[in-house]
């Protein structure tokens, strides 16, 4: 309990004083995870929608694979990227190992299946009606598809928030491919591991609080956006 209180105090102090190192670490965490999220969205949303809306051979197997990859162990994702980027690896010549770019790659590997899988689920949950209505109203195929995506946006937002939660809290992959190098690839989660290993429990808690605060702020932002787009629609109410 004492350590928790001490951690809280230290956390506020670290934020209040804008500690240069912790600021650097926090900024990198955000840069890496948000970049990974954007890339995952660009890959995952179209792919998920396509999987849900088209008829391809082996669709079930593909979907099943995507759902399985949603639970990919971070350290395994890290290892795969590591082997790709090591100096003896396929992309070794680009010297990307132990750089933020490598961390983004590993996180995309973790987040893209989540975005893809949950998007597919959100679209699959809709009824044929949505498409038919749009088509009856004279929408082109493209417009009708867009209206489906509009209907599924709640699920897609959920997919994105889940993916962000996964990558920003993830430690195994970024530790391996980033290397936790001070002033270079150290992020919030790897700092927590390091401080814990050094026995600085209250500092570790303090950094954890910073991480949670950031997640809270991002989710607040997303929820506010969500509320705005749903302003004219009724939410379910139990009467």
């Amino acid at each position: 309990m004492e350590i928790l209180v001490q951690g809280l105090k230290e956390g506020f102090l670290l934020i209040w004083q804008m500690d240069a190192e912790i600021f650097d670490v926090t900024l990198l965490s955000l840069q890496v995870s948000l970049t990974a999220l954007v890339l995952s969205a660009l890959i995952g949303v179209p792919l998920g929608a396509a999987l849900a809306l088209t008829k391809v051979r082996g669709k079930q197997v593909i979907l099943n694979t995507v759902y399985t990859l949603m639970g990919l162990p971070p350290v395994l994702a890290g290892l795969l990227v590591y082997l790709l980027l090591t100096s003896r690896g396929l992309l070794g010549q680009y010297e990307l190992l132990f750089t933020p770019a490598a961390m983004v790659m590993a996180q995309v590997l973790l987040a893209a299946p989540i975005v893809c899988g949950l998007t597919a689920r959100a679209v699959l949950a809709l009824n044929q009606e949505v498409y038919d209505t749009a088509a009856t109203l004279g929408a082109t195929r493209r417009q009708a598809t867009l209206s489906i995506m509009r209907e599924a946006r709640m699920g897609i937002i959920a997919a994105l928030t889940t993916a962000l939660g996964r990558v920003i809290a993830e430690v195994g992959a970024v530790m391996l491919v980033g290397g936790n190098i001070r002033w270079s690839t150290r992020v919030l989660t790897t700092s927590i591991v390091l401080e814990t290993r050094m026995g600085n429990f209250s500092t570790a808690i303090a950094i954890g609080i910073i991480l949670l605060t950031i997640s809270f702020a991002i989710n607040l932002f997303i929820l506010t956006l969500e509320k705005r787009t749903f302003r004219y629609e009724n939410t379910i109410q139990i009467t």
Partner: protein, 287 residues
């Protein structure tokens, strides 16, 4: 389509069934193993450094101690800093670490009693054969560190406040250098990970001999500096003070410390590694 999904379902169920059967087998086997062990072995919690665990020393000597003293040792292998913290919090019964200054403080502050010398091992500086700082064969590690800093040659540091990290920082201090800049890479990870990263970056690093010998076949870095007096690394065993924490097993901790420093314990430490590496990894030095 319907048929296909039915088939998938059946295959899926079969797989789950097979896995649960396998899991069941594993569970059945478990009690058999524990039946071999003496029934009333008491548990002793030991916090130690990753080097004793990773090198295989503990696997080699602990079964013998457990047999002699009828204890079951639970090893928590962490950095020296965390091991000492665990002792200070009364979370373990005894610690086996290597950082003389921190050990003395641990005893002075009343958390531990009766520190004993157990053994020492040594560190070496390893680096790529390209040797950009030209330190291969240098007898004085201080001169080697000066050369590395002057050439701004990449050097990977543990940077995790572990015993090895403190050793390295101590050498920089003694050489009157404040290491900073792009060439000085602080990774905040364990010895094995640090070795791997140094190899990848063709950088120099300070490593304990045990970890080096255990892992050297996986990597390409070679010894550059060894045998310098500043590279020796003594280990001490310290039982946690029962006056601070009544719940710790002081009796067991003392039995462990006595066994390690006994003739038998010392002999086993001295012979560990000779078979596998052709040289001992630790030199016993109990008084």
């Amino acid at each position: 389509m319907f048929k296909k999904s039915k088939l998938t379902l059946i295959i899926g169920l079969l797989m789950i069934f097979m896995m649960s059967v396998l899991a069941g087998c594993a569970q059945e086997e478990a009690p058999d193993q524990s039946a071999d062990q003496p029934p009333a072995a008491k548990e002793l919690k030991l916090a130690t450094t990753t080097s004793t665990e990773d090198s295989g020393l503990l696997d080699y000597i602990l079964p013998e101690f457990e047999k002699d003293a009828n204890y079951k040792v639970q090893v928590i292998a962490v950095g020296t800093g965390q091991a000492i913290e665990m002792g200070e919090a009364g979370d373990v019964d005894v610690i086996l670490v290597h950082s003389r200054a921190a050990e003395d403080k641990f005893v002075e502050d009343g958390f531990g009693v009766d520190r004993r010398d157990v053994m020492y091992n040594d560190y070496l500086i390893i680096g790529s054969t390209e040797d950009p700082a030209g330190i291969k064969g240098e007898a004085d590690v201080l001169k080697a560190f000066v050369a590395i800093q002057e050439k701004q040659a990449p050097f990977v540091s543990r940077g995790d406040n572990s015993g090895t990290d403190k050793k390295e920082k101590g050498i920089w201090k003694k050489a009157e250098i404040t290491p900073e800049g792009d060439w000085y890479i602080e990774v905040g990870q364990g010895m094995g990970d640090t070795f791997r990263m140094a190899d990848e970056k063709k950088a120099y690093t300070l490593i304990d001999r045990a970890t080096y010998l255990a892992l050297k076949d996986n990597y390409q870095l070679e010894p550059m500096v060894e045998g310098s007096p500043d590279l020796l690394n003594p280990y001490g065993v310290i039982p946690v003070n029962p006056e601070k924490y009544a719940h710790v097993d002081f009796e067991g901790a003392t039995a462990f410390a006595e066994w390690l420093t006994s003739e038998k314990g010392q002999q086993m430490i001295g012979e560990f590694g000779v078979d596998e590496y052709g040289q001992a990894l630790f030199v016993p030095d109990a008084k």
